[in-house]
């Protein structure tokens, strides 16, 4: 009796000790900052309680800003996915896949600002890209400070983050399932549509999450590469905090950004239905 009673209690106590670092971390670095942002969003410049910041957000400037942020984040995610999926698929078919994967990941170790400045040089009027265009007869183009340059550089920066989860999902995919589909008469497209894509959807979803959400709040690239012709929610927050010193309005935009992120998370984290939970792999796990 004594023995039976003590053991689970001890276990419980041990377990609660293990959760201490996690709980402290979440409280201090996740919940407290969010609570502070929400708190600040209810104050105006003079420190009075107000709902005006929220009313302001629904004026034309910030609504247009939100829509355009979403549009560019969508474009960036779409093109990243378009390039990342075939790349990841190809990687799983290569002999030294870990090495190839590493080669794709390595550029993401280099400082973002450094890479961005490199693009200013590459895309400039006298840069190599324009020199190439001139050689093939198209002639000099204004590449820097356009929508194209912005989406291009952003996609370049985000691609490793899109490839990784998709690669993992594809790598876990049991090849026997593809063989089975082909044996049962499915052609290449149907196999992809009915077998490969649904089984790797979770990888795609996590990829979309790690690209779309940061893309919504990109701010440095908007100035350096797009010359402020593209404005995102991140730009507006930076400006409210650093220039206007209107912490209330900055926090309000941040609150909406957090809300949008929650909505995106809801859409992109469906039930466990992907490769790991299916077929043969289930037994293994």
């Amino acid at each position: 009796m004594n023995l039976m009673g003590r053991s689970p209690m001890k276990n419980n106590r041990l377990r609660s000790i293990y959760t201490v670092p996690y709980t402290v971390w979440i409280l201090l670095f996740v919940l407290a900052p969010i609570a502070l942002i929400v708190y600040y969003s209810f104050f105006d410049l003079t420190g009075n309680f107000t709902l005006a910041n929220y009313r302001n957000f629904f004026t034309s400037v910030y609504l247009t800003l939100t829509i355009s942020s979403f549009w560019y984040a969508f474009l960036i995610t779409f093109f990243s996915l378009l390039i990342a999926y075939p790349t990841a698929y190809f990687l799983t078919k290569t002999k030294h896949k870990q090495l190839w994967l590493l080669l794709i990941i390595i550029p993401s170790w280099i400082n973002l600002l450094l890479k961005t400045y490199a693009f200013i040089g590459l895309m400039g009027l006298y840069g190599p890209l324009n020199a190439f265009l001139e050689v093939i007869g198209i002639g000099k183009q204004q590449i820097l400070f356009t929508d194209f340059s912005f989406v291009f550089v952003s996609v370049y920066i985000f691609i490793p983050f899109m490839i990784l989860p998709i690669f993992n999902a594809l790598d876990k995919l049991n090849p026997a399932l593809i063989d089975a589909a082909r044996d049962l008469g499915a052609n290449g497209w149907t196999t992809f549509k009915r077998v490969i894509w649904p089984l790797t959807l979770n990888g795609v979803k996590s990829g979309v999450q790690v690209v779309f959400i940061p893309a919504l709040s990109l701010f440095m690239i908007t100035r350096l590469i797009a010359g402020n012709k593209v404005i995102t929610l991140g730009t507006a927050i930076e400006q409210q905090f650093l220039v206007t010193q209107n912490w209330g309005m900055g926090s309000t935009i941040a609150v909406f950004l957090i809300l949008f992120m929650f909505i995106i998370m809801l859409f992109t984290t469906g039930k466990e239905r992907g490769a790991t939970g299916n077929g043969k792999n289930r037994k293994a796990s």
Binding site: L45, V61, T64, L65, S68, I120, G124, L125, Y126, Q142, L144, F145, D147, R223, L224, A226, G227, N228, K229, V230, I231, A236, Q239, L242, V243, T244, Q245, N246, M249
Partner: protein, 356 residues
């Protein structure tokens, strides 16, 4: 698993060694105890002068830099580092004085104040120079490269709207400068608080969109030097930097008027070595020191005695040392308060969103 432990131990050992080394090095620089911490804009002093100051006074200088008035004030407000000297722009002097972040200057310890041009003393942002003394001054205008343009000149701000400049004008990513330029072009004050005037200026700015190549910050210097850009709205000192590296570039302040700005040397409330700070201010106002500094930095010095020691070609250059007649068209920024600063920035944001 073993290799993870090894790696972890290695990282700990290296970090520990670096920490120790860092502490040792800092110890060395503080040996004399008598130090001052100077917080200045980047590239805003001749480093040789710091050495000279240390040799003459025996006071060690710890030098740190910032890149925006707001960021600087943030650090002073937090008070983590005991800065003894900093260099805010005029509207920021006013704001910091309001927030009680500045210490008054004791003029008995700054005899070299006699060298400063009286024109730059006792200005509205700090009447009686209670807290601040001018360090450098300059204007906002247009830097342009005639070799890339087909004879376009810039007597007036309206020249920026010329159809021949399609996609060639670079604006500065700062609301007061850009909206202010549009206000000036309409003949209004760049300290306008009239919402109708501001609206009109924003609409006029929007009509400039087809000509705007980009709205960026300091990166503009490199673009102009490399002939990537032909025209830019910029500060006189930045234009001087461009002209130093690319002789084709010219600088002009359009006749409707523009902004006259001052960066000022002040003693923030965080100061620990107040005597040292006064010694530093007095040293920087010495005519020979000021002349050498102005020569190195490229901005205009308010030190009248120093002007006599400088290259007459520089001092007589109307572009950087405009005469009093021209200066009378120029306006100093007033601290408009956070409310209106917000309005300026929101209108500027509206313009930026409209650019596509």
């Amino acid at each position: 698993m073993k290799s993870i432990y090894q790696a972890a131990i290695l990282i700990l050992v290296v970090s520990g060694a670096l920490l120790f080394l860092n502490a040792e090095l800092n110890e060395g620089s503080k040996s004399g105890k008598n130090t001052i911490t100077v917080y200045n804009w980047g590239e805003y002093i001749d480093p040789d002068l710091i050495k000279q100051f240390e040799e003459e006074t025996g006071i060690k200088v710890i030098y740190e830099t910032f890149d925006s008035n707001e960021a600087m004030m943030g650090k002073i407000e937090q008070g983590g580092t005991s800065y003894d000297i900093t260099v805010p722009s005029e509207y920021m002097v006013e704001m910091m004085a309001e927030k009680n972040l500045l210490l008054p200057i004791d003029y008995s310890k700054v005899p070299n104040i006699k060298n400063i041009d009286p024109y730059f003393m006792d200005l509205p942002f700090d009447l009686g120079n209670k807290y601040s003394l001018p360090y450098f001054w300059g204007t906002v205008g247009i830097a342009y490269n005639p070799t890339l343009l087909e004879g376009q000149t810039f007597e007036s701000w309206d020249n920026l709207w010329d159809p021949s400049l399609k996609q060639r004008v670079i604006l500065v990513d700062s609301a007061r400068e850009t909206v202010g330029m549009s206000l000036n072009s309409l003949g209004y004050s760049l300290n306008s608080t009239d919402l109708d005037e501001l609206r009109e200026a924003t609409d006029k700015l929007k009509s400039l969109s087809p000509n705007v190549k980009a709205v960026i910050g300091d990166e503009v210097t490199q673009l102009m030097v490399n002939n990537e850009a032909a025209v830019s709205l910029t500060w006189s000192g930045q234009a001087a930097d461009m002209m130093y590296e690319n002789e084709d570039i010219d600088y002009v302040v359009p006749e409707e008027g523009s902004n006259l700005w001052f960066d000022n040397i002040v003693i923030p409330r965080t100061a620990k070595n107040i005597d040292g700070a006064h010694a530093f201010i007095n040293f920087m106002l010495d005519p020979e020191v000021a002349a050498q500094n102005a020569d190195y930095v490229g901005y205009s010095t308010p030190n009248l005695t120093a002007l006599n020691l400088m290259d007459p070609e520089v001092v007589e250059d109307e572009r950087f040392y405009p005469d009093e007649e021209t200066r009378s068209h120029l306006e100093v920024y007033k601290n408009l308060g956070l409310e209106l600063l917000g309005v300026y920035n929101e209108l500027f944001l509206e313009f930026k969103m409209d650019m596509r």
